[in-house]
């Protein structure tokens, strides 16, 4: 199971990086969404995959019996999902606003902060 998921994670990363190399902000956003999911899957896989034994301590024992699933990666993923979702929401709004204000979604034409015709500093008095 782990090799399969590892390949899937690799595919996700490849797609995410391909999309993030684009000039258009909306594709970059899609890339970021996929990247977030790739990382979540990676966290999930890194906790080792075991089948069907829920992480519940049986009555009379102090610790989990051997062979149970690891609950910690799921807690980590839950946190990461919430964070990446909220960031994606913020970024989408920001992108839309940038599209409204700057009139383009092409990052090579977004030069409001760094205009092409910036003057050099004065070379003398």
């Amino acid at each position: 199971m782990e090799p399969l998921l590892a390949i899937l994670v690799g595919l996700f990363f490849a797609a995410a990086i391909y999309l993030m190399l684009s000039k258009f902000t909306i594709r970059i956003m899609l890339g970021i969404a996929i990247l977030g999911n790739a990382v979540n899957l990676l966290l999930f896989t890194s906790g080792r995959l075991t089948r069907e034994v829920p992480p519940i301590i049986p009555a009379g024992l102090d610790a989990l019996p051997a062979g149970t699933a690891n609950p910690l990666p799921q807690a980590l993923i839950l946190t990461a999902i919430v964070i990446s979702f909220s960031f994606l929401a913020f970024l989408l709004v920001l992108t839309y606003r940038a599209y409204q204000d700057l009139g383009t979604d092409d990052t090579s034409k977004m030069r409001a902060a760094e205009p092409d015709d910036r003057p050099l500093p004065p070379l003398g008095y």
Binding site: I32, S46, R111
Partner: protein, 516 residues
């Protein structure tokens, strides 16, 4: 999973109450978050909110000072949430390095808060400048104090989301543009960090920093620690704006309100450097050694790119942005040299100096614009004639930024140059010195054009404001103080570096019963 552990697990399940002194480790963060909530409730009373925020920042500085004093006197301090001892609970472990950075960041935030009374108008306050400032401090302080790698990631995100809020405060066209680049690249950097955390967890089965530091020696043969160290290096270098991944900084740092720029320049990149030092120096020291040539090359390139960028700029805010980058190069050089005696203590000293100095420089840029009517060198002039006191103050900051004595930039550079000569990297020493020289030319030109040159237009002499003058003067006093009386900070940064190189006290504070 379940790596064979020799930690006494049954002791970890006994939930005795947390000793009262240990609350100090979490108090700064809790204070920031609570104050952020209170400020949000006060959003209809803008004047009251501002004064509340200043009082809260003063409190934060006092708490951090108490924490620093306690840690300096008694060694690292650990608080575990709910007394679920590690490896179960999330630990806040404060050592000297973290406490020092937290205290400095509180001072910087206080100065920025006071400056904001004048700089951030009604609409900025209505959009939540002060609550966002407190949450930014919560994120920064949390990152400095936490003892858990995943927790570090979470504080990074807290920091990041509040910085997004701050950077678009005002919603001008160029702000939106800068914010988009800043947001996307920083989010990618934190995601890279999270990938590192996932692999770290797969390799170690734990995310507690003390646990990882103790076990890294045994796992060297089996776990992909080099991959991990490289990933963390890339992620934190991106956060800190080191050379190949620095281009978001000059694109974004000049767009927000000047006090926001000052905060960012003082805090954000230093959080990246802090995390880099914490992870590669304390957790993966052998890997740092093997990567040291790569880090040194990146450091040298960062110093030169920063200095040359500063030379070519017309906008003083962008000029200062390049100076931030050049400073990051100096800290990275310290990381590359390593060693508790020179490299790391130089980097720690430089980080503290740079936090204070960069904030002060940006606040001075705001003051220059207020007096001279703009940020462009081509339009400035006659500031010396307008106010001698402000000129003297700026000159001190400029000299400190160039690393000239007797100001605070001098000592860390001396330490770094000496350490790199001692370790045989003469070219790194040369790059540090050449970088300082080029920065001196850039600042010399700034001084010449903005201060000495006769005013191109009859600039309005404007009355000094205590709200902008006080924080600027206080930060400058710190810069001068660090330069003239460096022993105190030098001793602190040396023992902080010693604690990082040999984290026995840190481990003992997390696992009082011993690890094996």
């Amino acid at each position: 999973m379940a790596a064979p552990t020799t930690i006494d697990l049954s002791a970890a399940l006994i939930t005795a109450p947390v000793p009262i002194g240990h609350w100090l480790a979490i108090l700064p963060v809790a204070h920031c978050i609570m104050l952020g909530a209170v400020l949000l409730m006060l959003r209809a009373h803008l004047r009251l909110q501002a004064w509340f925020a200043i009082a809260g920042l003063v409190m934060l500085a006092l708490i951090d000072a108490a924490l620093l004093a306690k840690v300096a006197a008694e060694g690292p301090l650990t608080m575990v949430m709910g007394r679920w001892l590690p490896p179960f609970g999330i630990a806040f472990t404060v050592d000297l390095f973290g406490a020092l950075m937290a205290f400095t960041s509180a001072l910087v935030a206080l100065a920025a808060g006071i400056y904001a009374l004048a700089d951030i108008g009604e609409s900025g306050r209505r959009y939540g400048f002060f609550p966002l400032l407190m949450l930014l401090m919560a994120g920064a302080t949390g990152a400095f104090l936490t003892g858990d790698v995943f927790n570090l990631y979470v504080w990074f995100e807290v920091l990041l989301i509040s910085s997004f809020g701050l950077i678009i405060l005002g919603s001008e066209r160029q702000q939106i543009d800068g914010a988009l680049k800043y947001a996307v690249l920083n989010l990618i950097a934190t995601t890279l960090f999270l990938i590192g955390v996932g692999i770290l967890y797969a390799a170690f089965g734990t995310l507690n920093m003390a646990d990882i530091a103790a076990r890294a020696r045994d796992l060297r043969a089996t776990a992909p620690l080099m991959t991990l160290a490289s990933l963390f290096l890339l992620a934190f270098a991106m956060k800190a704006a080191a050379f190949p991944v620095n281009f978001w900084l000059p694109a974004a740092y000049h767009t927000p309100r000047i006090v926001v720029s000052a905060l960012f320049a003082g805090l954000l990149t230093k959080v990246g450097i802090y995390a880099l030092i914490r992870v590669v120096v304390m957790l993966l020291p052998v890997e740092r050694q093997e990567l040291s040539l790569l880090i040194a090359l990146a450091a040298g390139a960062t110093i030169l790119v920063g200095a040359l960028g500063a030379l070519a700029e017309n906008d003083i805010r962008r000029l200062f942005g390049y100076v931030v980058i050049s400073g990051i190069g100096n800290m990275l050089a310290g990381v590359a040299i390593g060693g508790p005696g020179g490299g790391i203590s130089g980097a720690v000293f430089y980080a503290v100096h740079s936090m204070v100095l960069m904030t002060a420089l940006y606040l001075a840029a705001g003051e220059i614009a207020r007096r001279g009517g703009g940020f462009l060198l081509s339009g400035l002039g006659g500031l010396y004639r307008q106010s001698g006191a402000f000129t003297a103050l700026s000159l001190m900051l400029f000299l400190a930024a160039c690393g000239l004595p007797p100001f605070s930039g001098f000592w860390p550079k001396v330490i770094l140059v000496k350490a790199s000569l001692d370790s045989g990297a003469w070219w790194l020493a040369a790059v540090i010195l050449v970088g300082g020289f080029l920065t001196t030319i850039a600042f010399g030109r700034l001084f010449l054009l903005a201060y000495w040159r006769p005013a191109p237009t009859a600039a309005m002499p404007s009355a000094a404001l205590w709200r902008t003058g006080l924080p600027l003067a206080a930060l400058t006093a710190l810069v001068v103080g660090f330069g003239i009386l460096p022993e105190w900070l030098l001793a602190l940064s040396q023992s902080a570096a010693a604690g990082l190189a040999d984290p026995q006290a840190y481990l003992h504070s997390v696992f009082p019963g011993g690890i094996r």
